[in-house]
């Protein structure tokens, strides 16, 4: 990152409106199944029978046990590792990070290299929840805005992305708009 760090973000600002996924769908690692629903609801202590009782789910018109609406994004995350991939764990240091991760900003081909990343806001419009047996992926990844900003965390930019979550049968289940902050932490920048 140069001294005039805001200029480093200009290629990203110029790319507002671009679909970085070219309309393609990246499917998540696993189909919806009752075990992963259980693991999602456990820390939330979300006890609706829709999420574990197929009979109750069917009585409300669903084909099978229903995943929480907000789990759809988790189901769209690609695998961290799959057979044939190189190892993720190259460094034994306690805080060492995996060589690759599907949920940071690693796949951003433009702009400065950032190591800090978190979501800032989300808008979700749901068409329907996922049910056991379905797979879901993220279709498209359009950059809607880019605003460079220095914060207490470091120097970076607020980015807004838009995509759709679609099932393997082609149903759109949700429209997603996500705000993120990608940045170089102060400790690294100094």
């Amino acid at each position: 990152m140069t001294d005039n760090w805001r200029d480093d973000w200009q290629p990203v600002i110029d790319a507002v409106g671009r679909d970085f996924a070219d309309g393609s769908t990246a499917f998540g690692a696993d189909p919806v199944e009752i075990g992963t629903i259980r693991r999602f609801v456990e820390p939330l202590e979300l006890d609706s029978p829709l999420h574990y009782d197929a009979e109750v789910a069917r009585s409300h018109g669903y084909a099978d046990v229903v995943a929480p609406y907000t789990q759809a994004m988790s189901y769209s995350i690609p695998a961290m590792w799959k057979p044939g991939d190189a190892t993720l764990y190259c460094d034994p240091a306690p805080d060492a990070q995996p060589a690759r991760s599907p949920i940071n900003n690693d796949d951003m081909p433009l702009g400065p290299k950032t190591t800090g990343f978190f979501a800032t806001d989300i808008e979700l419009d749901f068409v329907r929840p996922l049910v056991v047996g379905e797979r879901v992926g993220r279709r498209g990844n359009t950059l809607m805005s880019c605003t460079p900003k220095e914060t207490s965390m470091g120097r970076g930019a607020f980015l807004t992305w838009q995509s759709e979550l679609v099932t393997d049968s082609g149903d759109i289940v949700a429209y997603v708009r996500t705000g993120t902050y990608a940045y170089v932490p102060r400790e690294e920048a100094s």
Partner: protein, 151 residues
């Protein structure tokens, strides 16, 4: 498995101003690790305190997926199995929900209306730690059944 059964609310019973929660979520590291295993957000800022501090945060903090889930928990507790969730809007993270704190999620009914045949209710929801609003306030748009089994 036997389902837990609670009485189903209906659209007609709901009034603007009705309150939801609060539901308390103590946030030990243990819970955040269980959450990461469940929602696949393994970003170290959510369970590794030294890594989170090096990233510029005061400490490890709850993930977006977990926090979104707390809004769904509050809404689902309110709408029951016959309700649906149509949208979450204004879910803006204003402050960190840090490990070691207790976050509460709460809400209230701000509108109800029929959209065609659909009985729609709008909930204003936020997360709070102490007196600080940490997420939102935003909206969760839900539907509830009509008395007598309409939509």
């Amino acid at each position: 498995m036997t389902a837990l059964v609670s009485r189903q609310r209906t659209y007609e019973e709901i009034s603007v101003g009705d309150e939801l929660g609060p539901v308390e979520f103590p946030l030990p590291i243990y819970r955040l690790v269980v959450a990461a295993g469940g929602n696949r957000d393994f970003n170290s800022i959510h369970h590794n305190r030294s890594y989170a501090r090096a990233s510029g945060a005061p400490d490890a903090y709850a993930s977006t997926f977990f926090l979104l889930g707390t809004w769904e928990r509050l809404a689902r507790d309110f709408v029951g199995s016959a309700g649906t969730i149509r949208a979450i809007r204004g879910f803006r993270m204003r402050k960190f929900n840090l490990v070691g704190s207790t976050m509460t999620v709460s809400g209230r009914v701000t509108a109800k209306r029929m959209e065609g045949d659909e009985p729609v209710v709008v909930l204003e929801v936020s997360c709070q730690v102490g007196s600080d609003v940490t997420v939102g306030p935003g909206e969760v748009v839900v539907t509830l059944p009509l008395t007598g089994g309409g939509s």
